[in-house]
Symmetry: C2
Subunit: 201 residues, 2 copies
Amino acid sequence: MARKKSLTEGIDVAQQILAAAAPLFYERGYDAASIRELALEVGITSSTLYHHFANKQEILYAVIGTFMRDFNATVIPILRDGRRPPVDRLTDVVRLHLTMSDERRSFLLNANQFRASLNPTQLRHILDLSWEYHDAVKALLSEGNAAGVFSIDDADMTTMALLDMLNGVREWFNHAGYLSISDVAERYTQIVRRMVSAGRT
Amino acid sequence: MARKKSLTEGIDVAQQILAAAAPLFYERGYDAASIRELALEVGITSSTLYHHFANKQEILYAVIGTFMRDFNATVIPILRDGRRPPVDRLTDVVRLHLTMSDERRSFLLNANQFRASLNPTQLRHILDLSWEYHDAVKALLSEGNAAGVFSIDDADMTTMALLDMLNGVREWFNHAGYLSISDVAERYTQIVRRMVSAGRT
């Protein structure tokens, strides 16, 4: 029992570290943020923190990896759900991409800077997670095209164009503006339907 | 005669400074690049350089502004040329956007960092130039929609989506890859035709 409790607590502490690290990194900047500050934020000592992560870079890698694995775990099963019409799966994922990115907006706006702080092996694993998502979108576009419900010329380029336009939203979206993020998502699902020639809802 | 010659030389030197500044800023980074280095590159003294630009920030502002004014001067007359079919104007601009951005790729990849180095007044002027382009694209989409040759739901959002997908290309395009930038442009014109429901070529 004692062992089990300690393991559970260990997981909780690691999660608390990651939860505190994300806002610390984007508010203070990754380079300026210190392990000492992060430990203080979580209410543990630096040496307890080092028990969970070898260094600051490992924490950054875990934060990015956790977000991307959660994202993929949500959207990939939807993209691959062969029981549903391709257009429904695609529009659900457009909506999820925009709303989930909006929740992590401050962090994602610094994504390029964060990626540049990873080591090559970490970066490769993170890029693999991006490609997993890209490939699942592309497979759905090809599937819809083959089934005659989409009409596209190049699944690879259409996937790049689609993901770039979705990722672009966080750069200009303004929570104080006249559209909510779900208004934008609604309009973007229509644009994407046109991109794949799936007709309007 | 002497006066005229000196004026012409003045313009040439200013242009040489700007031409040398762009690669220096992206290769060394804006913060690390020095006026001394830049003057050396052009083959003039620092004091001659200061005769043309008050400081490094003014040079950066001039480099960005010159690129954007050149870009707008090329694409906006095409977008507004009412004698040509909207779809031809739109696809020409998609192609130009991609090829002109590719020529300035190294500089544009650091655009966010460069913009963050401008003062608020300079930044406002640069953003005004972006909006001028945005508004001309949006006006063309609305014009095509009203004429029944395009079919879009929201000209503003479609413009944002279109520009984000075009600007995204420079982040992943690889000159060593299997597609040239004009191959990508060819595929993107088809994607854009679908986005505005203009049919294929």
